[in-house]
């Protein structure tokens, strides 16, 4: 039996010791002596979040298919264990073998959101790996980053040996083969990194130099050697059915955030909302086939014993085979007492009928994401949803027995006026009014509950809004107050509930999202000030971040509220996502004109993703 890295005394003194013991069903054990590469795959947040992530499950199983690689998992120790590990100098370990991460060949970290950046430093620090890539020796693992935030990896450039840009299934194994070659030749860490830089999708930050203008903007981004390409092009799978997908995902013992089987039906989104990074960088839309999905669903349910299955995509309603897939799930999978959960469905007659069949109407709520309060602003952001869509959908839902509605909005969008802010309250009120108009008194099940919540808009790289300015924390709060005040003026105010996000978190996320290499020092200073788990409200400390900016001597306004010129070189410009800068500029201009752009199926807007040679761009050509 395995010896655990932590004593019973420690495990019994921390919250949820099951986070740290491994041994889950479908987790993979191998003999150390049988493998040539040990890979520690890390999600830098608490276990329950990390175990809910599909990408980790895919890569974990993909690596472990190879007999010469043992891939194990690593999560951030929660703050209670973090403290104990620091006090007693216990090195961070992988949950399968319980061996220290520092003994591994690779530490691969998925970077899913900006607010986990200090957790990445926590992982390196607890693993006893030097924080800076330049301080690492042959004894240290190669630290590699992947995931959505690598579309601007620059704030993290100092901490990673290399970044993998694109979909993990494509070239990770080629990287492993290169590593084996290098190891055999004993060529040295630097030589390996130089060779890796030649692989598609690989970015080695130490092989580039960034120069700045006096005003702080970038003047040049220069490769330092021949192996480093000027542009790093993202890698993607063109045929999703052929991409690796596991039959047997790991099944956690404790309840995790997404405690269900996840079936990814498609990648990318046809919609082209101008604020949405995922909708731009994951282009083109690629669907999985119905036969593939049916087979995978059945296999995975059998191998895991999960009692719930969920579909994953950016916009399930746009999946062309949705009706047939749902029919299969309800009639064949539902028979086996499996719960079905369908996120991100457009509310219409079809989806309401489906939802009525799979969930308890009384308990569930309907979700709409209008994102903005007026049609004008929804046109600016290219959100196709109209007020009529929402009210018609809501009326149908109320007739079907629902009486809880959630509405998601953003505040601080480009060109937003007071009318747009008040529009959030007005639209919420309209939804409530529709309830009282539609449902006769005797049939009402109490009052309708309309919950509106707003986050603050954060411009992200590779979106048409990458040129947009952010506001000050106080201004965000002021806008939320305008909405809140307007809510209280509405006729149906007693049915309305309004919530808003933290403006401080917004500022930090904004800096990290569009930051350059100089921001790395701020992240490190914040971490040294004690910041970890910034994504968790209770452990987010704005003052410590502000101290970090002051200590480093960087003004965060440079990254948030500054006006960016159209020809400014952005830190992320060396990445080629397929979507051209010209297209983004065009969309930014159309946004300012309030002109909508049709979705990919209604008409090609020429974004550039067609060069990948697959997906929606070629649907009509056959």
């Amino acid at each position: 039996m395995r010896k655990l890295a932590l004593s019973d005394r420690i495990l019994m003194s921390v919250d949820k010791p099951a986070r740290y013991i491994g041994n889950e069903w479908n987790s993979v054990m191998k003999e150390k002596s049988d493998v040539k590469i040990r890979f520690a795959l890390c999600f830098p947040d608490v276990y329950e979040i990390g175990m809910s992530h599909l990408g980790i499950q895919i890569l974990y199983n993909m690596y472990n298919q190879r007999p010469d690689i043992w891939c194990e998992r690593v999560y951030s120790p929660w703050t209670d264990l973090d403290q104990i590990m620091r006090e007693r100098n216990i090195p961070l370990f992988a949950v399968e073998s319980q061996d220290p991460v520092k003994e591994f060949d690779f530490l691969g970290i998925t970077i899913q959101y900006e607010m986990c950046y200090t957790n990445i430093l926590q992982i390196l620090d607890l693993s006893q790996i030097p924080l800076h890539a330049c301080d690492r020796t042959e004894e240290d693992p190669i630290v590699i980053g992947g995931g959505p935030c690598t579309y601007n990896p620059e704030p993290l450039a100092d901490f990673f040996d290399l970044f993998y840009i694109g979909e993990g299934e494509v070239a990770n194994l080629a990287l492993m083969d290169l590593y084996l070659e290098y190891k055999e030749q004993n060529a040295g860490r630097q030589e390996f990194l130089r060779r890796a830089a030649k692989l598609p999708g690989i970015y080695v930050p130490s092989l580039y130099r960034v120069s700045y203008h006096e005003d702080g903007t970038i003047s040049a981004f220069t490769p330092l050697c021949g192996e480093a390409p000027e542009q790093v092009r993202k890698v993607i799978e063109t045929e999703l059915d052929d991409a690796y997908y596991p039959d047997n995902p790991v099944v956690p013992f404790i309840k995790v955030t997404q405690d269900r089987l996840v079936l990814e039906i498609q990648r990318g989104c046809i919609r082209g909302c101008r604020f949405c990074q995922a909708g731009m960088v994951y282009r083109p839309v690629r669907e999985r086939s119905l036969s593939w999905l049916k087979e995978k669903a059945s296999k995975m349910l059998k191998s895991t014993g999960h009692e719930e299955i969920s579909l994953s995509s950016l916009s399930s309603s746009d999946f062309s085979q949705l009706e047939e897939l749902i029919r299969f799930l309800i009639e064949e999978i539902g028979e086996k007492k499996i719960n079905i959960s369908l996120p991100s469905l457009r509310i219409d007659a079809f989806s309401l009928d489906v939802m009525r069949r799979i969930q308890d109407v009384k308990k569930s709520s309907l979700t709409f994401a209008p994102e903005a309060g007026t049609q004008r602003l929804r046109d600016v952001i290219n959100k196709g949803l109209t007020q009529e869509d929402i009210l018609t959908g809501a009326a149908a839902a109320f007739e079907g027995g629902w009486n809880k509605v959630k509405l998601y909005f953003m505040l601080g969008l480009p060109s937003e006026t007071e009318e747009d802010m008040e529009g959030i309250a007005a639209l919420s009120n309209e939804v409530a009014r529709v309830y009282y108009d539609t449902v006769p008194k005797e049939k009402r099940n109490g009052r309708v509950q309309v919950t509106a919540s707003s986050s603050f808009f954060i411009p992200k790289p590779f979106t048409p809004f990458q040129w947009a300015s952010m506001l000050e924390a106080e201004e965000y709060l002021e806008r939320a107050r305008v909405v809140n005040h307007a809510m209280k003026e509405q006729l149906n105010r007693k049915s309305l509930n309004y919530q808003w996000h933290s403006p401080e978190t917004t500022i930090i996320e904004g800096v990290l999202a569009r930051g350059d290499r100089r921001v790395g020092a701020v992240i490190e200073a914040a971490y040294r000030n004690g910041c970890i788990y910034d994504a968790w409200t209770e452990s987010f400390h704005y003052d410590k971040w502000m101290e970090a900016f002051a200590a480093v001597g960087l003004d965060y306004h440079f990254y948030t509220s500054r006006t960016r010129s159209l020809d400014e070189i952005f830190p992320w410009d060396f990445i080629d996502t397929g979507v051209t800068r010209e297209f983004l500029k065009r969309e930014w201009k159309r946004a300012q004109e309030g002109r909508v752009t049709p979705n990919c199926r209604a008409g090609c807007a020429g974004c550039g993703a067609k060069t990948f040679g697959g997906g929606v761009c070629y649907e009509t050509e056959n």
Binding site: A18, W25, K255
Partner: protein, 244 residues
């Protein structure tokens, strides 16, 4: 048909709490393809109940859950199917059919055997401690603390070289945790009780022999208790032969 599953829990699985063990079994029963019965409604759940929750950190050789099934193969085959889909540290020991009128394990648990394995040998004073007529401890309830004599709830004990065997009252009427006995013992010794000085293992769970509690109004602890006062939960079910 009602089935009773007996299982052992050891190694790192001792850190998985009761609710998670329930969830774990729901999934293993699906993986094993056991033809379990479900409740009605929008989120049907498996008809399943556990005999007695085991504290986090404790190992066990004798845990039980009862399930309702539509059909069953042989005891041997079902145990093998379940063990094929278990993680290391959980082992199904037996699967037995309960009589149709058999009561739920949870409602009949009356006693439990424990072995407390001491890292550095068992303190020899335990015999003297047990020789007392009364052992009063402060027991915390939801609202307040009450003084309780636990001596009558210790049905049997035996000091061995490596540790202590205890047979204690268990279930919904009188439930005595071995940790409470140790707390009392160490406090009697004038020492602080370190929960990590021994590994506690539950060995078996019992019901009163003869189908229920002893007759009369008297609390069970006032009746003389002997070795044949109890029957293990496993013995209340019968094995399903391969031939059936």
């Amino acid at each position: 048909m009602k089935l009773r599953i007996k299982f052992a829990k050891s190694g790192c699985m001792k850190l998985i709490g009761h609710l998670d063990i329930m969830r774990y079994f729901q999934k293993t029963i699906r993986r094993a393809g056991i033809d379990i019965a479900y409740s009605e409604g929008f989120s049907p759940h498996q008809i399943m109940s556990f005999a007695a929750p085991l504290g986090v950190g404790l190992e066990s050789q004798g845990e039980y859950l009862d399930i309702q099934v539509h059909s069953a193969s042989s005891s041997r085959q079902m145990a093998a199917e379940l063990n094929r889909v278990m993680t290391e540290g959980i082992e199904v020991r037996s699967v037995r059919r309960l009589p149709e009128d058999g009561r739920n394990a949870m409602s009949i648990v009356a006693a439990a055997d424990y072995f407390l394995r001491f890292e550095n040998g068992c303190p020899p004073e335990f015999d003297a401690f047990m020789a007392q007529e009364n052992i009063s401890v402060l027991k915390k309830t939801k609202k307040n603390k009450i003084l309780l004599d636990i001596r009558p709830l210790i049905y049997d004990f035996r000091r061995e070289e490596t540790g202590i065997f205890l047979k204690l009252a268990a279930g919904s009427v009188n439930n005595l945790k071995p940790e409470l006995v140790m707390e009392a013992f160490f406090s009697w010794l004038g020492e602080a009780w370190d929960p990590f000085c021994c590994q506690i293992c539950r060995l078996e769970l019992y019901a009163w022999a003869g189908g229920g509690k002893p007759e009369g109004d008297a609390a069970p602890e006032q009746k003389p208790v002997s070795a044949d006062s109890f029957i293990s939960l496993e013995e209340l079910g019968e094995s399903i032969d391969d031939a059936e």
